[in-house]
């Protein structure tokens, strides 16, 4: 077991973890932040995407022990975030989710696109979304929702 300190959603968290505990299991099982979903567990599906040190990361292939000292934000940590608020509204308006399993990871990626690529067009949004699988929507609503927020930000 290894003792780690990670700042999660603004609060310091200390825990003793097995080295093989991934960051997704750490936030879910140790901190009971179950908004982060686990899908493929090998870095392909994007469901577990969370923010680590300011950028999106796969929490299923980042071990908690390797994130000692890091600053992490899970989907629960964006309640007061203006961009995330706009994205949530847009996801609802554009029917960008159905079952919702991919949505927490999708929103973290969407926020990164909006903030990092303010001029992204449909093609670029789709390229950037390639790492987040959605098996319900067919992506049309998701792309529209992200474009909606990108356009709002240009006003």
């Amino acid at each position: 077991m290894k003792t780690i300190s990670i700042t999660v959603n603004g609060k310091p968290a200390q825990a003793s973890v097995e080295p093989r505990t991934n960051l997704a299991d750490f936030v879910r099982e140790h901190l009971h932040l179950t908004g982060t979903n686990i899908g493929c567990e090998h870095g392909v599906c994007g469901a577990c995407t969370i923010e680590v040190d300011g950028g999106p990361a796969r929490s299923c292939i980042a071990y908690a022990v390797a994130c000692d000292g890091a600053t992490v934000r899970t989907i629960e940590g964006f309640a007061a975030d203006a961009t995330m608020h706009a994205l949530r509204e847009a996801f609802s308006a554009e029917h960008a989710l159905q079952c919702g399993y991919c949505t927490p990871g999708m929103l973290i990626t969407a926020r990164d696109i909006v903030l990092r690529l303010p001029d992204a067009d449909d093609g670029r949004v789709r390229e950037e979304l390639a790492g987040n699988l959605c098996r319900c929507t067919g992506y049309v609503g998701i792309v529209r929702a992200i474009r909606r927020v990108l356009e709002q930000n240009k006003l």
């Binding site: 991934n22 994007g46 796969r58 022990v65 950037e128 390639a130 790492g131």
Partner: protein
């Protein structure tokens, strides 16, 4: 799946990391971003007893500019290259390739050295570093050495890096500002491992015209003289290059590699 149990150490110095690795008797694995090793651990394809985390080592980070080359620390992330936070030795090629590696969430953690050590035949950096004739610098408790990227791979997912050696940096020879390059990757979805790669580089200042056919069974297949592919597509030479890369004429793999090469040629002349 969850990985099999392993121990974990995060040494503060490269010397300590090398000692830990040497003491692990072949049961140790270096981890940095973990974006290649993580999936393999989770699928239990690898079950090392000890992971040695080198992500925080200053000796493996940063970029040094020399007269003829840029030396990238092994823990340089794909995202740092994509964003232009480090200089591009290859006139924009590295930056373009970085953007196409996996997904942003992976690029934020995945490293240049890790990708090369993992040596997936379809991985971008392996193919790029062979194209650019880069050198991979290694460190172990026995000392330092350097391996040419063209001699790195000795089989599928297998390299000449010893069980006690750590990739410390990658020395990429600079292209002149007049150099031209093309890089075509065929995959069904952006970010997936490539089914076929072809790339060309022409630098008249350095007298360089070479290429690769990549995403092969093991090492990228070099095209030592790429002059027949500058400005025109020579179908006989192309067929020869794809056959030399190990693909049987008429097979699916042969066709996609041939098309990749053709598109790389078109990119170069456009």
């Amino acid at each position: 799946m969850k990985p099999a149990k392993f121990d974990y150490e995060k040494p503060r110095h490269l010397d300590d990391a090398a000692k830990l690795l040497a003491g692990a008797n072949g049961e140790g694995k270096i981890i940095a971003g973990g974006q290649s090793l993580g999936p393999i651990l989770n699928l239990r394809l690898a079950q090392p007893a000890l992971l040695i985390d080198v992500r925080g080592l200053t000796e493996l980070s940063g970029v040094k500019e020399e007269r003829d080359a840029i030396v990238y620390g092994a823990t340089t992330t794909h995202a740092a290259i994509e964003d232009g936070r480090v200089p591009d030795a290859a006139n924009g090629l590295l930056r373009k390739v970085a953007r196409g590696i996996a997904y942003r969430a992976v690029r934020n953690r995945g490293t240049l050295g890790g990708s090369l050590a993992h040596a997936d035949p379809a991985a971008d950096w392996l193919n790029v570093m062979v194209l650019l004739d880069a050198d991979i610098e290694l460190f172990s408790a026995r000392g330092k050495r350097s391996v040419r990227a063209t001699a790195l791979v000795d089989g599928p997912l297998s390299t000449v890096i010893g069980a006690d050696e750590i990739v410390t940096s990658i020395r990429v020879p600079k292209l002149s500002p007049k150099a031209r390059w093309s890089y075509y990757k065929f995959n069904r979805k952006p970010g997936e491992f490539a089914e076929a790669i072809a790339a060309l580089v022409v630098d008249e200042v350095r007298g360089l015209a070479r290429g690769i056919v990549g995403a092969t069974a093991a090492a990228p297949s070099p095209i030592a003289d790429a002059r027949p592919f500058i400005g025109a597509f020579d179908p006989t030479k192309a067929a020869h290059a794809v056959t030399a890369a190990g693909f049987l004429a008429g097979s699916y793999e042969y066709q996609v590699h041939l098309v990749a090469l053709k598109r790389a040629v078109m990119q170069l002349s456009s």
